[in-house]
Protein backbone atom coordinates (compact mmCIF):
# COMPACT_ATOMS: atom_id res chain seq x y z
CA UNK A 1 0.00 0.00 0.00
CA UNK A 2 1.45 3.36 -0.90
CA UNK A 3 2.01 6.13 1.61
CA UNK A 4 -1.03 8.21 0.71
CA UNK A 5 -3.44 5.32 1.09
CA UNK A 6 -1.80 4.35 4.35
CA UNK A 7 -2.20 7.91 5.60
CA UNK A 8 -5.87 7.88 4.63
CA UNK A 9 -6.39 4.57 6.40
CA UNK A 10 -4.79 6.02 9.52
CA UNK A 11 -6.94 9.14 9.20
CA UNK A 12 -10.09 7.01 9.04
CA UNK A 13 -8.97 5.00 12.06
CA UNK A 14 -8.32 8.12 14.14
CA UNK A 15 -11.52 9.75 12.90
CA UNK A 16 -13.88 6.89 13.81
CA UNK A 17 -14.24 7.53 17.57
CA UNK A 18 -14.54 11.25 16.87
CA UNK A 19 -17.23 10.59 14.27
CA UNK A 20 -19.51 8.75 16.69
CA UNK A 21 -19.17 11.47 19.29
CA UNK A 22 -19.69 14.20 16.71
CA UNK A 23 -22.84 12.53 15.35
CA UNK A 24 -24.16 12.27 18.89
CA UNK A 25 -23.27 15.89 19.50
CA UNK A 26 -25.18 16.93 16.39
CA UNK A 27 -28.32 15.24 17.77
CA UNK A 28 -27.98 17.09 21.04
CA UNK A 29 -27.07 20.48 19.60
CA UNK A 30 -29.66 20.44 16.83
CA UNK A 31 -32.20 19.93 19.62
CA UNK A 32 -30.75 22.95 21.41
CA UNK A 33 -28.46 21.46 24.07
CA UNK A 34 -24.73 22.18 23.89
CA UNK A 35 -22.80 18.89 23.86
CA UNK A 36 -19.81 19.80 26.05
CA UNK A 37 -20.26 16.51 27.93
CA UNK A 38 -19.24 14.36 24.93
CA UNK A 39 -15.81 13.77 26.47
CA UNK A 40 -17.29 12.25 29.61
CA UNK A 41 -19.88 10.22 27.68
CA UNK A 42 -17.14 8.74 25.50
CA UNK A 43 -15.12 7.86 28.55
CA UNK A 44 -18.15 6.25 30.22
CA UNK A 45 -18.75 4.20 27.07
CA UNK A 46 -15.12 3.16 26.74
CA UNK A 47 -15.13 2.03 30.37
CA UNK A 48 -18.46 0.21 30.55
CA UNK A 49 -17.84 -1.47 27.20
CA UNK A 50 -14.51 -2.85 28.28
CA UNK A 51 -15.70 -3.98 31.72
CA UNK A 52 -18.75 -5.72 30.26
CA UNK A 53 -16.72 -7.43 27.56
CA UNK A 54 -14.25 -8.61 30.19
CA UNK A 55 -16.91 -9.75 32.67
CA UNK A 56 -19.35 -11.32 30.22
CA UNK A 57 -16.83 -12.51 27.67
CA UNK A 58 -18.84 -11.26 24.74
CA UNK A 59 -17.96 -8.26 22.57
CA UNK A 60 -21.58 -7.72 21.49
CA UNK A 61 -22.70 -7.35 25.09
CA UNK A 62 -19.75 -5.03 25.60
CA UNK A 63 -20.96 -2.77 22.81
CA UNK A 64 -24.43 -2.67 24.34
CA UNK A 65 -22.88 -1.80 27.68
CA UNK A 66 -20.93 1.07 26.14
CA UNK A 67 -24.14 2.47 24.68
CA UNK A 68 -25.81 2.16 28.09
CA UNK A 69 -22.82 3.70 29.88
CA UNK A 70 -22.76 6.76 27.64
CA UNK A 71 -26.54 7.08 27.82
CA UNK A 72 -26.60 6.88 31.63
CA UNK A 73 -24.22 9.80 31.91
CA UNK A 74 -26.36 11.63 29.36
CA UNK A 75 -29.39 11.13 31.62
CA UNK A 76 -27.57 13.18 34.25
CA UNK A 77 -26.89 15.91 31.68
CA UNK A 78 -30.47 15.84 30.41
CA UNK A 79 -31.96 15.97 33.88
CA UNK A 80 -29.75 18.87 35.01
CA UNK A 81 -30.01 20.97 31.85
CA UNK A 82 -33.54 20.23 30.61
CA UNK A 83 -35.44 19.64 33.87
CA UNK A 84 -33.43 21.88 36.20
CA UNK A 85 -32.43 24.49 33.58
CA UNK A 86 -28.75 24.24 34.60
CA UNK A 87 -26.20 26.03 32.41
CA UNK A 88 -25.49 23.62 29.57
CA UNK A 89 -21.83 24.41 29.02
CA UNK A 90 -20.75 24.22 32.63
CA UNK A 91 -22.90 21.14 33.25
CA UNK A 92 -21.02 19.52 30.37
CA UNK A 93 -17.71 20.33 32.06
CA UNK A 94 -19.06 18.96 35.34
CA UNK A 95 -20.06 15.59 33.91
CA UNK A 96 -16.68 15.35 32.21
CA UNK A 97 -15.00 15.71 35.60
CA UNK A 98 -17.55 13.29 37.09
CA UNK A 99 -16.95 10.69 34.36
CA UNK A 100 -13.18 10.91 34.70
CA UNK A 101 -13.42 10.40 38.45
CA UNK A 102 -16.10 7.74 38.35
CA UNK A 103 -14.46 5.55 35.69
CA UNK A 104 -11.03 5.77 37.33
CA UNK A 105 -12.56 5.05 40.75
CA UNK A 106 -14.66 2.10 39.61
CA UNK A 107 -11.80 0.69 37.56
CA UNK A 108 -9.80 0.36 40.78
CA UNK A 109 -12.70 -0.15 43.18
CA UNK A 110 -14.34 -2.98 41.25
CA UNK A 111 -11.14 -4.94 41.55
CA UNK A 112 -10.56 -3.93 45.18
CA UNK A 113 -7.13 -2.46 44.64
CA UNK A 114 -5.53 0.92 45.03
CA UNK A 115 -3.65 0.68 41.76
CA UNK A 116 -5.27 0.59 38.34
CA UNK A 117 -5.56 -2.98 37.07
CA UNK A 118 -4.62 -4.04 33.57
CA UNK A 119 -7.47 -5.68 31.74
CA UNK A 120 -7.04 -6.82 28.20
CA UNK A 121 -9.69 -7.99 25.79
CA UNK A 122 -9.26 -9.02 22.18
CA UNK A 123 -9.91 -5.97 20.01
CA UNK A 124 -12.73 -6.26 17.48
CA UNK A 125 -11.32 -7.81 14.34
CA UNK A 126 -11.46 -6.47 10.83
CA UNK A 127 -14.30 -7.75 8.71
CA UNK A 128 -13.32 -7.62 5.04
CA UNK A 129 -16.26 -7.31 2.69
CA UNK A 130 -15.89 -9.85 -0.14
CA UNK A 131 -15.04 -8.51 -3.60
CA UNK A 132 -15.09 -4.84 -2.51
CA UNK A 133 -12.23 -5.47 -0.10
CA UNK A 134 -10.04 -6.62 -2.96
CA UNK A 135 -10.23 -3.37 -4.93
CA UNK A 136 -6.70 -1.93 -4.97
CA UNK A 137 -6.07 1.08 -2.67
CA UNK A 138 -9.74 1.88 -1.95
CA UNK A 139 -10.58 -1.70 -0.96
CA UNK A 140 -8.37 -2.04 2.11
CA UNK A 141 -9.15 1.55 3.04
CA UNK A 142 -12.93 1.32 3.06
CA UNK A 143 -13.88 -2.33 3.02
CA UNK A 144 -11.45 -4.05 5.35
CA UNK A 145 -12.37 -2.34 8.59
CA UNK A 146 -13.54 -3.40 12.04
CA UNK A 147 -17.30 -3.44 12.48
CA UNK A 148 -17.74 -0.08 14.24
CA UNK A 149 -16.07 1.80 11.39
CA UNK A 150 -18.76 0.53 9.00
CA UNK A 151 -21.46 1.38 11.53
CA UNK A 152 -20.12 4.92 11.85
CA UNK A 153 -20.04 5.51 8.11
CA UNK A 154 -23.56 4.14 7.67
CA UNK A 155 -24.77 6.27 10.59
CA UNK A 156 -23.70 9.43 8.79
CA UNK A 157 -26.16 8.61 6.03
CA UNK A 158 -28.89 7.43 8.40
CA UNK A 159 -28.64 10.57 10.49
CA UNK A 160 -28.66 12.85 7.49
CA UNK A 161 -31.85 11.28 6.18
CA UNK A 162 -33.46 11.18 9.61
CA UNK A 163 -32.71 14.81 10.36
CA UNK A 164 -33.68 16.18 6.98
CA UNK A 165 -36.37 13.86 5.68
CA UNK A 166 -38.39 12.53 8.60
CA UNK A 167 -40.98 14.02 10.90
CA UNK A 168 -38.91 13.10 13.96
CA UNK A 169 -35.92 14.91 12.48
CA UNK A 170 -38.05 17.95 11.74
CA UNK A 171 -39.34 18.08 15.31
CA UNK A 172 -35.79 17.71 16.63
CA UNK A 173 -34.49 20.56 14.50
CA UNK A 174 -37.51 22.72 15.31
CA UNK A 175 -36.84 22.21 19.01
CA UNK A 176 -33.34 23.56 18.53
CA UNK A 177 -34.58 26.56 16.57
CA UNK A 178 -37.78 27.58 18.32
CA UNK A 179 -38.95 25.35 21.16
CA UNK A 180 -41.94 27.57 21.96
CA UNK A 181 -43.32 27.16 18.45
CA UNK A 182 -42.58 23.44 18.60
CA UNK A 183 -44.51 23.24 21.85
CA UNK A 184 -47.42 25.11 20.28
CA UNK A 185 -47.45 22.63 17.39
CA UNK A 186 -48.01 19.78 19.80
CA UNK A 187 -44.55 18.30 20.40
CA UNK A 188 -42.93 18.54 23.81
CA UNK A 189 -39.47 20.17 23.63
CA UNK A 190 -38.58 18.83 27.09
CA UNK A 191 -39.24 15.31 25.86
CA UNK A 192 -37.42 15.89 22.56
CA UNK A 193 -34.35 17.30 24.28
CA UNK A 194 -34.26 14.43 26.77
CA UNK A 195 -34.30 11.90 23.94
CA UNK A 196 -31.74 13.85 21.89
CA UNK A 197 -29.27 14.19 24.76
CA UNK A 198 -29.61 10.53 25.72
CA UNK A 199 -29.13 9.60 22.05
CA UNK A 200 -25.99 11.73 22.05
CA UNK A 201 -24.74 9.83 25.10
CA UNK A 202 -25.43 6.48 23.44
CA UNK A 203 -23.52 7.44 20.29
CA UNK A 204 -20.63 9.01 22.18
CA UNK A 205 -20.53 5.86 24.31
CA UNK A 206 -20.07 3.83 21.13
CA UNK A 207 -17.31 6.25 20.16
CA UNK A 208 -15.63 5.37 23.43
CA UNK A 209 -16.08 1.69 22.61
CA UNK A 210 -14.24 2.28 19.34
CA UNK A 211 -11.28 3.35 21.45
CA UNK A 212 -11.37 0.71 24.16
CA UNK A 213 -12.80 -2.30 22.29
CA UNK A 214 -11.83 -1.76 18.68
CA UNK A 215 -8.48 0.01 18.82
CA UNK A 216 -6.72 -0.60 22.11
CA UNK A 217 -8.35 -3.56 23.83
CA UNK A 218 -7.91 -2.07 27.29
CA UNK A 219 -8.92 0.89 29.47
CA UNK A 220 -6.67 3.56 30.92
CA UNK A 221 -7.61 6.56 33.08
CA UNK A 222 -8.90 9.42 30.95
CA UNK A 223 -8.17 7.48 27.76
CA UNK A 224 -10.40 9.74 25.64
CA UNK A 225 -7.79 12.43 26.24
CA UNK A 226 -9.70 15.42 24.82
CA UNK A 227 -11.31 13.60 21.89
CA UNK A 228 -14.76 14.66 23.08
CA UNK A 229 -13.73 18.30 22.82
CA UNK A 230 -12.22 17.64 19.41
CA UNK A 231 -15.54 16.09 18.33
CA UNK A 232 -17.22 19.27 19.56
CA UNK A 233 -14.91 21.25 17.28
CA UNK A 234 -15.65 18.86 14.40
CA UNK A 235 -19.38 19.55 14.77
CA UNK A 236 -18.74 23.27 14.47
CA UNK A 237 -16.38 22.97 11.52
CA UNK A 238 -18.87 20.62 9.87
CA UNK A 239 -21.61 23.18 10.52
CA UNK A 240 -23.92 20.84 12.41
CA UNK A 241 -24.45 18.46 9.47
CA UNK A 242 -23.55 14.74 9.59
CA UNK A 243 -21.56 14.68 6.31
CA UNK A 244 -19.81 17.88 7.36
CA UNK A 245 -18.87 16.27 10.64
CA UNK A 246 -17.52 13.24 8.76
CA UNK A 247 -15.32 15.45 6.59
CA UNK A 248 -14.00 17.45 9.54
CA UNK A 249 -13.35 14.30 11.58
CA UNK A 250 -11.37 12.89 8.65
CA UNK A 251 -9.52 16.20 8.37
CA UNK A 252 -8.61 16.06 12.06
CA UNK A 253 -7.65 12.40 11.68
CA UNK A 254 -5.42 13.26 8.75
CA UNK A 255 -3.59 16.02 10.65
CA UNK A 256 -3.05 13.65 13.54
CA UNK A 257 -1.80 10.89 11.23
CA UNK A 258 0.45 13.38 9.44
CA UNK A 259 1.77 14.63 12.76
CA UNK A 260 2.86 11.13 13.73
CA UNK A 261 4.58 10.61 10.39
CA UNK A 262 6.59 13.82 10.18
CA UNK A 263 8.13 13.41 13.62
CA UNK A 264 11.17 11.80 12.02
CA UNK A 265 11.64 14.60 9.51
CA UNK A 266 13.86 17.58 10.25
CA UNK A 267 11.45 20.48 10.42
CA UNK A 268 11.97 23.91 11.99
CA UNK A 269 9.11 23.13 14.41
CA UNK A 270 8.08 20.03 16.32
CA UNK A 271 4.95 17.96 15.77
CA UNK A 272 3.12 20.02 18.40
CA UNK A 273 2.56 22.75 15.84
CA UNK A 274 0.77 20.24 13.60
CA UNK A 275 -1.25 19.06 16.59
CA UNK A 276 -2.55 22.60 16.97
CA UNK A 277 -4.03 22.51 13.46
CA UNK A 278 -7.45 21.04 14.31
CA UNK A 279 -8.04 23.70 16.95
CA UNK A 280 -6.67 26.57 14.90
CA UNK A 281 -8.65 25.43 11.84
CA UNK A 282 -11.80 25.24 13.98
CA UNK A 283 -11.20 28.73 15.30
CA UNK A 284 -10.49 30.06 11.82
CA UNK A 285 -13.65 28.46 10.43
CA UNK A 286 -15.70 29.84 13.30
CA UNK A 287 -14.16 33.29 12.99
CA UNK A 288 -14.55 33.18 9.23
CA UNK A 289 -18.22 32.32 9.50
CA UNK A 290 -18.43 35.12 12.04
CA UNK A 291 -21.94 36.10 12.90
CA UNK A 292 -23.05 34.10 9.89
CA UNK A 293 -22.34 30.89 11.84
CA UNK A 294 -25.75 29.31 11.92
CA UNK A 295 -25.91 27.85 15.36
CA UNK A 296 -29.29 26.33 16.16
CA UNK A 297 -31.15 29.46 17.26
CA UNK A 298 -32.31 28.20 20.65
CA UNK A 299 -29.10 26.40 21.59
CA UNK A 300 -28.12 26.98 25.19
CA UNK A 301 -31.54 28.40 26.09
CA UNK A 302 -33.58 26.57 28.67
CA UNK A 303 -37.15 25.85 27.66
CA UNK A 304 -39.95 26.52 30.15
CA UNK A 305 -43.24 24.79 29.52
CA UNK A 306 -45.35 27.55 31.08
CA UNK A 307 -45.31 31.02 29.56
CA UNK A 308 -43.00 33.45 31.33
Amino acid sequence: MDAAAELLAAALRIATPLLFAALGGILSERAGVFAVGLEGMMLAGAFSGLIATHALGHAGLGLIASVVGGALLAVVVAFATVRCYADQMVTGLAVNILALGLTSFLFRGLFARGEAPTIRVTPLTQIPIPVLGDIPVVGPLLFRQPVLTYVGLVLVFVMLVTLQRTRAGLILRATGENPTATFASGADPVHVRFVAVIGAGALAGLGGAVLSLQQVGTFTDGMTNGRGYLALAAIIVGRWSPPGALVSCLLFGATDALQLRIQGLRLPFSSYVIQMLPYVVSLAVLAGLGRGARLPAAIGMPFFREPR
Binding site: F34, Y85, A94, L102
Partner: protein, 332 residues
Protein backbone atom coordinates in the same frame (compact mmCIF):
# COMPACT_ATOMS: atom_id res chain seq x y z
CA UNK B 1 -26.12 27.60 52.25
CA UNK B 2 -26.64 26.05 48.84
CA UNK B 3 -22.97 25.15 48.27
CA UNK B 4 -22.75 23.45 51.67
CA UNK B 5 -25.86 21.41 50.89
CA UNK B 6 -24.42 20.50 47.49
CA UNK B 7 -21.15 19.34 49.07
CA UNK B 8 -23.03 17.36 51.73
CA UNK B 9 -25.17 15.68 49.10
CA UNK B 10 -22.11 14.88 46.97
CA UNK B 11 -20.29 13.43 49.99
CA UNK B 12 -23.33 11.32 50.86
CA UNK B 13 -23.60 9.95 47.33
CA UNK B 14 -19.91 9.17 47.10
CA UNK B 15 -20.16 7.44 50.48
CA UNK B 16 -22.44 4.95 48.73
CA UNK B 17 -19.70 4.40 46.15
CA UNK B 18 -17.20 3.72 48.91
CA UNK B 19 -19.61 1.21 50.44
CA UNK B 20 -20.01 -0.40 47.01
CA UNK B 21 -16.23 -0.73 46.84
CA UNK B 22 -16.39 -2.63 50.12
CA UNK B 23 -14.90 0.04 52.39
CA UNK B 24 -16.11 2.09 55.33
CA UNK B 25 -16.90 5.64 54.16
CA UNK B 26 -16.42 7.17 57.63
CA UNK B 27 -12.93 5.69 57.88
CA UNK B 28 -12.20 6.86 54.34
CA UNK B 29 -13.33 10.44 55.01
CA UNK B 30 -11.40 10.47 58.29
CA UNK B 31 -8.25 9.37 56.45
CA UNK B 32 -8.91 12.05 53.87
CA UNK B 33 -9.18 14.68 56.59
CA UNK B 34 -5.99 13.50 58.28
CA UNK B 35 -4.14 13.50 54.97
CA UNK B 36 -5.17 17.07 54.31
CA UNK B 37 -4.97 18.61 57.79
CA UNK B 38 -2.92 16.15 59.84
CA UNK B 39 0.27 18.20 60.06
CA UNK B 40 1.68 21.61 59.12
CA UNK B 41 3.41 19.92 56.23
CA UNK B 42 0.11 18.54 54.89
CA UNK B 43 -1.63 21.87 55.39
CA UNK B 44 1.17 23.56 53.48
CA UNK B 45 0.79 21.15 50.56
CA UNK B 46 -2.99 21.66 50.53
CA UNK B 47 -2.68 25.45 50.61
CA UNK B 48 -0.17 25.32 47.76
CA UNK B 49 -2.62 23.20 45.77
CA UNK B 50 -5.45 25.61 46.48
CA UNK B 51 -3.49 28.72 45.45
CA UNK B 52 -3.79 28.49 41.64
CA UNK B 53 -7.41 27.35 42.01
CA UNK B 54 -8.30 30.39 44.11
CA UNK B 55 -6.52 32.83 41.79
CA UNK B 56 -8.10 31.41 38.65
CA UNK B 57 -11.45 30.87 40.38
CA UNK B 58 -11.64 34.53 41.36
CA UNK B 59 -11.17 35.52 37.72
CA UNK B 60 -13.84 33.07 36.58
CA UNK B 61 -16.14 34.44 39.30
CA UNK B 62 -15.84 37.99 37.96
CA UNK B 63 -16.50 36.70 34.43
CA UNK B 64 -19.57 34.70 35.46
CA UNK B 65 -20.92 37.75 37.32
CA UNK B 66 -20.99 39.48 33.93
CA UNK B 67 -22.42 36.33 32.29
CA UNK B 68 -19.13 35.81 30.47
CA UNK B 69 -18.46 32.07 30.36
CA UNK B 70 -14.67 32.02 30.34
CA UNK B 71 -13.47 28.42 30.52
CA UNK B 72 -10.01 29.27 29.16
CA UNK B 73 -8.23 29.04 32.50
CA UNK B 74 -6.08 26.09 31.53
CA UNK B 75 -4.49 27.77 28.50
CA UNK B 76 -4.07 31.06 30.34
CA UNK B 77 -2.40 29.28 33.27
CA UNK B 78 -0.10 27.32 30.93
CA UNK B 79 1.08 30.43 29.09
CA UNK B 80 1.47 32.38 32.32
CA UNK B 81 3.79 29.67 33.56
CA UNK B 82 5.65 29.73 30.26
CA UNK B 83 6.23 33.49 30.44
CA UNK B 84 7.41 33.33 34.04
CA UNK B 85 9.83 30.54 33.13
CA UNK B 86 11.18 32.48 30.20
CA UNK B 87 11.84 35.58 32.35
CA UNK B 88 13.49 33.52 35.11
CA UNK B 89 15.78 31.71 32.69
CA UNK B 90 16.61 34.77 30.60
CA UNK B 91 17.52 37.14 33.45
CA UNK B 92 19.16 34.90 36.06
CA UNK B 93 21.37 37.76 37.32
CA UNK B 94 18.46 39.99 38.25
CA UNK B 95 18.26 40.82 41.97
CA UNK B 96 16.33 38.24 44.08
CA UNK B 97 13.31 40.42 44.80
CA UNK B 98 13.01 41.90 41.33
CA UNK B 99 13.23 38.59 39.48
CA UNK B 100 10.15 36.85 40.95
CA UNK B 101 8.13 40.06 40.69
CA UNK B 102 9.15 40.45 37.06
CA UNK B 103 8.31 36.81 36.35
CA UNK B 104 4.92 37.07 38.09
CA UNK B 105 4.11 40.22 36.13
CA UNK B 106 5.10 38.53 32.87
CA UNK B 107 2.85 35.58 33.73
CA UNK B 108 -0.10 37.85 34.46
CA UNK B 109 0.44 39.88 31.29
CA UNK B 110 0.68 36.80 29.10
CA UNK B 111 -2.44 35.27 30.62
CA UNK B 112 -4.25 38.57 30.09
CA UNK B 113 -3.08 38.73 26.48
CA UNK B 114 -4.29 35.18 25.78
CA UNK B 115 -7.70 35.93 27.31
CA UNK B 116 -7.83 39.25 25.45
CA UNK B 117 -7.28 37.35 22.20
CA UNK B 118 -10.29 35.18 23.03
CA UNK B 119 -12.30 38.29 23.89
CA UNK B 120 -11.31 39.95 20.61
CA UNK B 121 -12.40 36.90 18.59
CA UNK B 122 -15.68 36.91 20.48
CA UNK B 123 -16.33 40.61 20.04
CA UNK B 124 -15.18 41.03 16.45
CA UNK B 125 -16.20 37.72 14.96
CA UNK B 126 -19.16 36.84 17.16
CA UNK B 127 -17.94 33.37 18.10
CA UNK B 128 -19.25 32.24 21.48
CA UNK B 129 -16.59 32.68 24.16
CA UNK B 130 -17.01 29.12 25.45
CA UNK B 131 -15.91 27.72 22.11
CA UNK B 132 -13.08 30.22 21.69
CA UNK B 133 -11.64 29.75 25.17
CA UNK B 134 -12.03 25.96 24.93
CA UNK B 135 -10.15 25.79 21.62
CA UNK B 136 -7.49 28.26 22.77
CA UNK B 137 -6.85 26.03 25.81
CA UNK B 138 -5.54 23.29 23.55
CA UNK B 139 -3.45 25.72 21.54
CA UNK B 140 -1.98 27.30 24.69
CA UNK B 141 -1.03 23.95 26.21
CA UNK B 142 0.55 22.89 22.91
CA UNK B 143 2.54 26.13 22.75
CA UNK B 144 4.05 25.17 26.10
CA UNK B 145 4.86 21.69 24.78
CA UNK B 146 6.42 23.22 21.69
CA UNK B 147 8.55 25.59 23.78
CA UNK B 148 9.71 22.71 25.99
CA UNK B 149 10.58 20.70 22.90
CA UNK B 150 12.62 23.61 21.62
CA UNK B 151 14.41 26.51 23.26
CA UNK B 152 13.11 26.19 26.82
CA UNK B 153 13.54 22.44 27.20
CA UNK B 154 16.13 20.78 29.38
CA UNK B 155 18.42 18.77 27.10
CA UNK B 156 18.57 15.10 28.01
CA UNK B 157 15.88 15.31 30.68
CA UNK B 158 13.88 12.50 29.09
CA UNK B 159 10.71 14.39 29.96
CA UNK B 160 9.45 17.64 28.47
CA UNK B 161 10.47 20.11 31.17
CA UNK B 162 12.61 23.22 31.49
CA UNK B 163 15.91 23.36 33.38
CA UNK B 164 15.68 24.23 37.07
CA UNK B 165 15.01 27.96 37.48
CA UNK B 166 17.61 30.14 39.20
CA UNK B 167 17.12 30.17 42.96
CA UNK B 168 16.67 33.94 42.93
CA UNK B 169 13.37 33.51 41.08
CA UNK B 170 11.79 31.12 43.61
CA UNK B 171 8.90 32.34 45.72
CA UNK B 172 9.90 32.44 49.41
CA UNK B 173 8.60 29.84 51.87
CA UNK B 174 6.27 31.36 54.43
CA UNK B 175 5.60 28.56 56.94
CA UNK B 176 8.60 26.92 58.63
CA UNK B 177 8.58 23.13 58.42
CA UNK B 178 6.41 23.05 55.31
CA UNK B 179 6.60 23.74 51.58
CA UNK B 180 4.04 26.54 51.81
CA UNK B 181 5.14 29.37 49.54
CA UNK B 182 4.14 33.01 49.29
CA UNK B 183 1.58 32.36 46.55
CA UNK B 184 -1.22 31.88 49.07
CA UNK B 185 -0.70 35.48 50.24
CA UNK B 186 -0.99 36.67 46.64
CA UNK B 187 -4.21 34.67 46.34
CA UNK B 188 -5.66 36.23 49.51
CA UNK B 189 -4.79 39.72 48.27
CA UNK B 190 -6.42 38.92 44.92
CA UNK B 191 -9.57 37.76 46.71
CA UNK B 192 -9.81 40.97 48.73
CA UNK B 193 -9.12 43.19 45.72
CA UNK B 194 -11.70 41.31 43.63
CA UNK B 195 -14.25 41.72 46.41
CA UNK B 196 -13.66 45.47 46.54
CA UNK B 197 -13.72 45.66 42.75
CA UNK B 198 -16.96 43.74 42.42
CA UNK B 199 -18.93 45.44 45.21
CA UNK B 200 -17.36 48.88 45.66
CA UNK B 201 -15.96 50.02 42.30
CA UNK B 202 -17.64 51.34 39.13
CA UNK B 203 -16.19 48.51 37.04
CA UNK B 204 -17.68 45.95 39.38
CA UNK B 205 -21.03 47.67 39.16
CA UNK B 206 -20.82 47.58 35.36
CA UNK B 207 -20.02 43.86 35.54
CA UNK B 208 -23.05 43.15 37.66
CA UNK B 209 -25.39 45.24 35.54
CA UNK B 210 -24.16 43.53 32.38
CA UNK B 211 -24.68 40.14 34.00
CA UNK B 212 -28.17 41.04 35.18
CA UNK B 213 -29.31 42.41 31.83
CA UNK B 214 -27.37 43.41 28.73
CA UNK B 215 -30.13 45.76 27.48
CA UNK B 216 -30.22 47.47 30.88
CA UNK B 217 -26.45 47.88 30.72
CA UNK B 218 -26.66 49.54 27.31
CA UNK B 219 -29.53 51.75 28.53
CA UNK B 220 -27.36 52.83 31.49
CA UNK B 221 -24.58 53.84 29.12
CA UNK B 222 -22.38 50.85 29.90
CA UNK B 223 -20.46 49.44 26.93
CA UNK B 224 -20.99 45.65 26.98
CA UNK B 225 -18.02 45.01 24.71
CA UNK B 226 -15.58 47.11 26.76
CA UNK B 227 -16.78 45.50 29.96
CA UNK B 228 -16.49 42.08 28.32
CA UNK B 229 -12.96 42.80 27.15
CA UNK B 230 -11.98 44.17 30.55
CA UNK B 231 -13.27 41.29 32.63
CA UNK B 232 -11.80 38.68 30.30
CA UNK B 233 -8.38 40.32 30.43
CA UNK B 234 -8.57 40.60 34.19
CA UNK B 235 -9.49 36.92 34.55
CA UNK B 236 -6.69 36.03 32.14
CA UNK B 237 -4.23 38.03 34.22
CA UNK B 238 -5.28 36.17 37.37
CA UNK B 239 -4.98 32.79 35.61
CA UNK B 240 -1.58 33.73 34.17
CA UNK B 241 -0.51 34.78 37.64
CA UNK B 242 -1.66 31.40 38.92
CA UNK B 243 0.51 29.68 36.32
CA UNK B 244 3.53 31.80 37.27
CA UNK B 245 2.95 31.10 40.98
CA UNK B 246 2.74 27.37 40.32
CA UNK B 247 6.02 27.41 38.41
CA UNK B 248 7.93 29.73 40.76
CA UNK B 249 6.55 28.33 44.01
CA UNK B 250 6.00 24.60 43.56
CA UNK B 251 7.96 23.09 40.68
CA UNK B 252 10.80 25.65 40.20
CA UNK B 253 10.63 24.66 36.55
CA UNK B 254 8.12 24.47 33.71
CA UNK B 255 6.74 20.95 33.34
CA UNK B 256 4.67 19.78 30.37
CA UNK B 257 1.02 19.50 31.35
CA UNK B 258 1.44 21.19 34.75
CA UNK B 259 -1.84 23.05 34.28
CA UNK B 260 -3.88 19.95 33.45
CA UNK B 261 -7.43 20.28 34.77
CA UNK B 262 -6.75 23.53 36.66
CA UNK B 263 -8.97 25.64 34.43
CA UNK B 264 -12.01 23.41 34.79
CA UNK B 265 -11.48 23.08 38.53
CA UNK B 266 -11.45 26.86 38.71
CA UNK B 267 -14.90 26.92 37.14
CA UNK B 268 -16.09 24.41 39.72
CA UNK B 269 -14.62 26.53 42.51
CA UNK B 270 -16.23 29.71 41.24
CA UNK B 271 -19.60 27.95 41.36
CA UNK B 272 -18.92 26.39 44.74
CA UNK B 273 -17.94 29.86 45.98
CA UNK B 274 -21.40 31.07 44.90
CA UNK B 275 -19.76 33.52 42.47
CA UNK B 276 -18.51 35.66 45.32
CA UNK B 277 -14.76 36.42 45.56
CA UNK B 278 -14.66 36.11 49.36
CA UNK B 279 -16.32 32.68 49.40
CA UNK B 280 -14.19 31.49 46.49
CA UNK B 281 -11.34 31.35 49.00
CA UNK B 282 -12.88 28.60 51.20
CA UNK B 283 -14.13 26.84 48.05
CA UNK B 284 -10.60 26.75 46.63
CA UNK B 285 -9.19 25.60 49.96
CA UNK B 286 -11.81 22.84 50.06
CA UNK B 287 -10.64 21.56 46.67
CA UNK B 288 -7.00 21.84 47.71
CA UNK B 289 -7.63 19.87 50.90
CA UNK B 290 -9.72 17.26 49.03
CA UNK B 291 -6.98 16.61 46.51
CA UNK B 292 -4.22 16.54 49.09
CA UNK B 293 -6.16 14.19 51.35
CA UNK B 294 -7.15 11.85 48.52
CA UNK B 295 -3.80 10.13 48.13
CA UNK B 296 -3.51 9.68 51.89
CA UNK B 297 -6.99 8.14 51.89
CA UNK B 298 -5.96 5.74 49.14
CA UNK B 299 -2.85 4.69 51.06
CA UNK B 300 -4.57 4.36 54.44
CA UNK B 301 -7.84 2.63 53.60
CA UNK B 302 -7.45 1.62 49.95
CA UNK B 303 -10.22 3.83 48.61
CA UNK B 304 -9.04 4.99 45.16
CA UNK B 305 -8.17 8.70 45.03
CA UNK B 306 -10.15 9.52 41.82
CA UNK B 307 -13.13 9.58 44.18
CA UNK B 308 -12.28 13.24 44.67
CA UNK B 309 -13.17 14.04 41.05
CA UNK B 310 -16.54 12.33 41.63
CA UNK B 311 -17.15 14.62 44.62
CA UNK B 312 -16.13 17.64 42.55
CA UNK B 313 -18.28 16.73 39.56
CA UNK B 314 -21.37 15.92 41.63
CA UNK B 315 -21.02 19.13 43.65
CA UNK B 316 -20.93 21.15 40.44
CA UNK B 317 -23.98 19.42 38.99
CA UNK B 318 -26.00 19.98 42.17
CA UNK B 319 -25.08 23.65 42.36
CA UNK B 320 -25.77 24.22 38.66
CA UNK B 321 -29.17 22.54 38.92
CA UNK B 322 -30.08 24.54 42.02
CA UNK B 323 -28.98 27.75 40.28
CA UNK B 324 -31.07 26.86 37.23
CA UNK B 325 -34.15 26.11 39.29
CA UNK B 326 -33.89 29.27 41.38
CA UNK B 327 -33.32 31.43 38.30
CA UNK B 328 -36.50 29.89 36.96
CA UNK B 329 -38.37 30.76 40.13
CA UNK B 330 -37.17 34.37 40.22
CA UNK B 331 -38.16 34.71 36.58
CA UNK B 332 -41.81 33.92 37.20
Amino acid sequence: MRPILAVALALALTALLIVAAGKNPLLAYAALGRGALGSWDRIGVALNKATPYVLTGVGVTLCFRARVINIGGEGQIALGGLAATWIALTFPQAPPIVLPLLALAAGALTGAAWAALAAAIRLHRGVHEVLVTLLLNFVGVLIVSEALQGTLGEPGAGFPQSPLLPRASWLPRVLPGSDLHGGILIAVVAVVLAHVLLWRMPFGFRLRVLGASAPAAVYAGISPSRTFFGVMSLAGALAGLAGAVEVLGVHYRLIDGFSHGFGFNAVAIALLGALNPITVLPAGLFFGFLETGALAMQRAVGVPSPLVAVIQGLTMIFILSAMGLSARRSRV
